[in-house]
């Protein structure tokens, strides 16, 4: 069994303080290490999640981060899978811990998506994160491809453009209680409707921002946990799957089929069903992709009805993206999935931001990411040991 011994995030946003990704990685790592009640000499493996060398201009970032953090001698490497990089790094750590190859693994997600390059250049780079030889040559942006996928979803799932504002308002409002969030906002529908159209039906306020930041988790074998952390949240299920890159090659271009498969695998490992999830951090690159994800993950049997009833709001049956998600908290790609892990772990332990921590104890939380238009899905189920609440 693997536990989340420690976790920490830097603020996500557009950093203008001349700091670098190396500073953010260090801040997150030492924060997580402190919570884990461990020393850097206890860490035997470092896994770095980072989406692109283009952002940092640092190839082999794990080597320089290991050097910076006093982790010389550890096994240090990078894991990359687009927006799913952070979760895939966690899965790699879990495999090493469960196999006995590692005892304490530091997973650091970091990307400088906002401050190092002009936004139009980042957009151009992202257009090559799908099939660079086909869609990339068309000049189709990420927003355009997500928009076409969501149009298919709307046609099949009974949701409409008007439902996007509910997700947008919810996530940005949650971000208002997250002091590390990039876009804490109290939107009204008029403001959303007046924002520029990026790719119909997505307007600017339906989109997640480009962000800088880092997040870290210390994952440990349960039998290696320090006494102070014996009730740390457990990783009970992991699942990953892939889909066709070309939307047109999928039977239903709006269906995140890889996510359904990944969730099935994670639930089978955890021994629970989707309806037992108490809180979820979901990959809302766009407002519509949150809805597509909730549907594919099997988290609701009445998506539109529950959305309008507030089931996914802060005080609802299943709070989704209490952190604000990518839309509110921000989206430094490599840090996103690791940040979700940190958020879920803190929620389960009851130590999340006071304005966002649910009053009731949570047993299971879901951290969900994907790369491409859900071409690569990777998600994790975390569970709180019963002892923590007794």
């Amino acid at each position: 069994m693997v536990a989340v011994a420690g976790s920490a995030l830097t603020p996500f946003g557009r950093r203008k303080d001349h700091s670098s990704f190396r500073d953010w990685a260090a801040e997150a790592f030492f924060g997580a290490l402190t919570m884990a009640d461990l020393d850097q000499s206890d860490i035997d493996t470092l896994i770095v999640a980072s989406e692109s060398d283009f952002f940092s201009l640092q190839l082999n970032p794990a080597s320089i981060i290991a050097d910076d953090l006093g982790l010389t001698g550890t096994m240090a490497f990078r894991v990359e899978g687009g927006g799913a990089s952070g979760q895939l790094a966690v899965h790699t750590a879990v495999a090493r811990l469960k196999s006995g190859l590692s005892r304490h693994v530091a997973v650091i997600g970091v990307d400088a998506s906002a401050s190092t390059l002009p936004a139009n250049q980042v957009k151009d780079l992202y257009s090559f994160s799908f099939d660079a030889w086909t869609d990339g040559m068309n000049g189709a942006s990420a927003t355009m491809l997500y928009a076409l996928s969501f149009q298919d979803f709307m046609a099949r799932a009974g949701v409409g453009v008007e439902d996007l504002e509910i997700v947008t308002i919810k996530n940005r409002r949650n971000a208002c209680d997250n002091p590390g969030a990039h876009l804490p906002r109290r939107h009204d529908p008029t403001e959303i409707a007046a924002s520029p159209m990026i790719a119909a039906p997505y307007r600017r306020l339906h989109c997640s921002p480009l962000s800088d930041g880092a997040a870290a988790v210390i994952l440990s074998r349960v039998d290696a946990l320090p006494g102070s952390r014996r009730t740390a949240p457990r990783i009970t299920g992991i699942g990953a799957a892939s889909d066709r890159t070309n939307l047109g090659a999928r039977p239903k271009p709006g269906d995140f089929a890889a996510k359904r498969l990944a969730m099935h695998r994670a639930c089978a490992m955890a021994g629970i069903g989707p309806t037992q999830i108490d809180a979820a951090e979901i990959y809302d690159a766009y407002a519509g992709s949150e809805l597509q994800s909730i549907a594919a993950l099997g988290l609701s049997e009445d998506l539109r009805g529950e959305l309008h009833d507030g089931a996914f709001a802060k005080s609802g049956r299943l709070p989704v993206n209490l952190s604000g998600g990518l839309m509110g908290q921000g989206a430094p790609a490599g840090a996103t999935g690791v940040g979700q892990m940190a958020t879920c772990a803190m929620l389960l332990e009851g130590r999340y931001h006071p304005g966002l921590q649910p009053a009731r104890p949570l047993a299971h939380a879901l951290a969900d990411t994907h790369g491409g238009i859900c071409t690569t899905s990777a998600l994790t189920i975390l569970s709180q040991p019963e002892a923590a609440w007794t």
Partner: protein, 125 residues
């Protein structure tokens, strides 16, 4: 620290060369699976049936718009080419919002992208 970096790539077209040459010429070159006859466009190296052998075929080049999106980067659509078993993402050029039938046109730039124009229109953009 300010740093300007210019990168000039030469990307190998590899197995996709016939498809990419077709885009430059305004022809829809697809892959027909020899096992199940499914036609993929863009071509798939391995068919959904698992077949790994395929033959190049030229589609008639007409396409139907399935979903369309307009935005800051122009007009794009998920289209279905006649004779293809899979859909494609194409840039639409000069197609009004109500028009749903088009045909392939030569790529507009040095980047060999898939472009669809209104059926009956001249190739010239």
């Amino acid at each position: 620290m300010d740093l300007n970096l210019r990168l000039d790539y030469v990307l190998g077209e590899g197995w996709l060369a016939p498809y990419i040459t077709g885009l430059r010429d305004g022809c829809a070159i697809a892959a027909r699976c020899t096992a199940c006859d499914a036609v993929s466009f863009p071509p798939a190296r391995v068919c959904a049936c698992g077949g790994r052998q395929s033959a190049w075929v030229t589609l008639d080049g007409t396409a139907q718009v399935i979903f369309r999106s307009t935005g800051m980067d122009g007009d794009f659509a998920l289209v279905q080419f006649a004779g293809a078993s899979t859909g494609s993402i194409a840039r639409l050029q000069g197609m009004a919002a109500h028009e749903t039938m088009g045909r392939i046109a030569p790529a507009l730039t040095t980047r060999p992208g898939l472009v669809v124009i209104r059926e009956g229109a001249d190739f010239a953009p």
